[in-house]
Amino acid sequence: MTRITKGLWRGALTAAALTLATSAMAQSDLKIMAPAAPGGGWDQTARSMQQAFTQSGLVKNVQVTNVPGAGGSIGIAQFVNGAKGDPNQLMVMGYVMVGALLTNNSPVTLAQVTPIARITAEYEAIVVPANSPIKDAKELAAAVKADPAKVTWAGGSAGGVDHIAAALFAKAAGADPTKINYIPFSGGGEALAAILGGKVTAGISGYGEFESQIKAGKLRLIGMTSPGKLPNVDGPSLKDQGIDLEIANWRAVVAPPGLSPEQTKTLTETVDKLAKTKEWQELLKAKGWDDAYMSGPAFAKYLSDEQAKTKEVLTSVGLVKS
């Protein structure tokens, strides 16, 4: 029943939007690819965009497709070849894809897609078990500097944002990043279990993964990889503690290659409008995602900077052969 009322409501809204803005109507159809299996972060982003697009009446029909595999390498290959020149398609991607394409030696690169906008970002949190002798970032940095191999880090997949952040931490602490003892766990709660069980020195992941454990006093937050203290996090940033490390796990949308400047402009404007809608803002809040909206040339530059930076870090830890 709820679905029916929702559908009616949606239909009414769309109709209203259509009559109000027939001249300025940007798109009627849009396909969003999530280059991952249903349920993950990229899929949730794509489906939330779908929901906000249709409910706000910005786009009438939005279809989400999933192409899972290899950190998005499979999805982007299909997107670049199959959607070329189509101004009605978008693909969700994120920082993880930057690293995955490099470590997988993907024949397709991000230079081929048309950058549209960065939409969300989450900063990384470094934690230790509550009974750890390490109290703050300075002490952790000192331990890493003394012997990087003895400090074990638990985090997500090799070459992912957690791994890169750990390598950058070692570098900022004045240690050799190639020597870090980073132990990748396959997603979910495995890394968290290893940290809670005191099997590793420190853990690194998005703040959301640790939040309830930090609040319950089972984990100690050492620092955030944000530029300064975050309003919703009860703890300092690494920068505030003198560790020069800033990294965010961001998500963005890109368009296929081969679009005309006008087409790119229209698509960017549509996404710009989405970011301002009440529906989208509500979804961000519900999901606990930080708004990090950035579009147009600024995002294009950001994307290429991140690629260069990531390549450098991954080469320095030996994951990418230069």
Partner: protein, 499 residues
């Protein structure tokens, strides 16, 4: 006791008509997707998330749990009737269950699976209600070295018990281990044996392998022998219902299966498959008629089915108490909690008791619903076997292909399904057991990853495997299990009755 009061309170939440309805929708959906190979409960919950966004949190979480339990029930049906495991945790059920179905005992096989799942589900849910806080403290103490030792136990028992000869069992296991190497190495992020095919970077999909080996392989095998022997399948021989003898042979495996499933399911990296392997091996070893194994022993259905359902309840222990999702479905349920701004974890029991206890209480109700739903269907399901063989197997092929494409729409996946089908046919033809291949694929990468993690943490000191008491104990068990069959084999050589 505190937990009793909370549970009683939870029951009042769960029997609200709306929540009962959600539980019913959940178990129906779960059973349906459990029956389809490839589409698992995780995918279903993922697709439902956006729809449930506006619903009441309690109701939709109850529905998700219903899907989870329903999936575990439904997976056994196709395993037993058409030798097509709906998901990897019901693969073991196919071994004996399908043999029983072919001998006209599909009814009792389905019944023991349903009742065993019920018994295990109820006991394990009670375990969840009363033991969760204690169990979870033990579970996080399980380190990589302990998991590696647990895998060793599984490897040894599995290779020794599946199939007639250990050498053939080991050969199959190694094929599986080899397949497990394909894809990105989790610890270094480097691709191995993917031959430049991007689709292989994530490794071989377990359901594709299981469906290929079991269903497609079987269809090819039956087709190849059709001109030789006209195999007549009798849908029902004897009673449709379990006999007194069946009950007698089932109840102990149910309890033992639960004892394997619940604690291993509660381990953050335990999973639903290992307890089914261990249960099968145990039942084979303890059975009064071990020679019946491989020809339709009811213990081999009762134990593993109880084990996989108990592990589903076990998975909820770390999810609710720590916010640790330890299976794909649990990860989706976590996303479900989070979309309502709820963070499962140590504080959830204190902050939202009505939600947690309502969920636990509705798990009991979901179990009852599943039993009521499944038992009357037994008679209907076994009619499937009355379909003429060419039709039935053609149907199985369509069904298997559809499930694989639904889960992973790619040409490479279909080619793999075909290849595994041919492999399954050849292995049947030359009498190699097929289950150890799947076991190798599931356990190989996990065992490798855990061993390397353990060594990384200990700075390459192998003694870490013996220093942990859990790991040392498990390794000793593995060693005993390795030697024992050879001793027993020597003793029983004279009374061997293999054909």
């Amino acid at each position: 006791m505190d937990a009793f009061v909370s549970l009683a309170h939870g029951l009042t939440v769960a029997i609200q008509p709306m929540n009962l309805l959600f539980a019913l929708i959940g178990v129906l959906l779960g059973t349906a997707v459990g029956v389809l190979p490839g589409i698992g409960p995780a995918l279903t919950v993922a697709l439902l998330l956006p729809i449930t966004f506006k619903l009441d949190p309690g109701g939709s979480i109850i529905m998700f749990a219903g899907i989870y339990y329903g999936g575990m029930y439904g997976g056994s049906t196709t395993s037993i009737l058409i030798n097509t495991p709906g998901e990897s945790a019901s693969m073991v059920t196919a071994l004996e269950g399908n043999k029983m179905a072919k001998a006209g005992r599909g009814g009792p096989a389905l019944a023991t699976a349903a009742i065993g799942s019920f018994v295990a589900g109820v006991i394990a849910t009670a375990g969840l209600a009363f033991l969760a806080p204690y169990l979870v403290d033990v579970a996080v103490q399980f380190g990589p070295e302990d998991y590696f030792a647990l895998m060793c136990v599984a490897f040894v028992t599995v290779s020794a018990t599946f199939g007639d000869s250990p050498v053939r069992g080991l050969t199959s296991l190694f094929i599986g281990l080899l397949l497990g190497l394909v894809g990105i190495d989790i610890l270094t992020g480097q691709a191995r044996m993917s031959f430049g095919v991007p689709d292989l970077l994530d490794g071989v999909e377990v359901t594709t392998l299981a469906v290929g080996l079991f269903a497609v392989g079987e269809a090819l095998y039956v087709a190849s022998r059709r001109h030789l022997v006209e195999e007549k399948l009798e849908p029902v021989r004897g009673s449709l219902w379990m006999t007194k003898e069946d009950w007698k042979r089932s109840w102990k495996p149910w309890l033992r299966g639960t004892a394997f499933g619940f604690p291993i399911g509660a381990l953050p990296a335990g999973g639903a498959e290992i307890p089914t392997f261990l249960s099968y091996s145990t039942e084979k070893r303890l059975a009064k008629h071990p020679e019946e194994f491989g020809h339709g022993a009811i213990e081999g259905v009762a134990g593993p089915e109880a084990a996989n359902n108990a592990s589903a309840a076990g998975t909820l222990v770390p999810l609710l108490t720590l916010g640790l999702p330890t299976s794909a479905t649990a990860a989706m349920m976590l996303a479900g909690f989070q979309q309502y701004g709820l963070n499962p974890g140590p504080l959830l029991f204190a902050e939202r008791p009505e939600l947690v206890w309502g969920l636990i209480a509705s798990l009991f109700i979901a179990n009852v619903m599943l039993l009521v739903l499944n038992l009357p269907l037994v008679g209907l399901w076994v009619r499937l076997l009355a379909i003429p063989q060419p039709w039935l197997y053609a149907g199985i092929l369509v069904f298997a292909t559809m499930g694989t494409i639904a889960a992973n729409p790619s040409v490479v996946e279909l080619m793999m399904l075909t290849l595994f089908g041919i492999m399954g046919f050849l292995m049947r033809r030359f009498d190699f057991p097929i289950a150890p291949v799947v076991v190798g694929l599931i356990l190989g990468p996990v065992a490798e990853g855990q061993l390397r993690r353990a060594l990384s943490i200990s700075l390459n000191d192998p003694m870490v495997l013996l220093q942990s008491p859990i790991s040392a104990t498990l390794l000793v068990i593995a060693l005993i299990a390795l030697i024992l069959p050879f001793v027993l084999k020597g003793m029983s050589r004279f009374k061997a009755t293999e054909d």
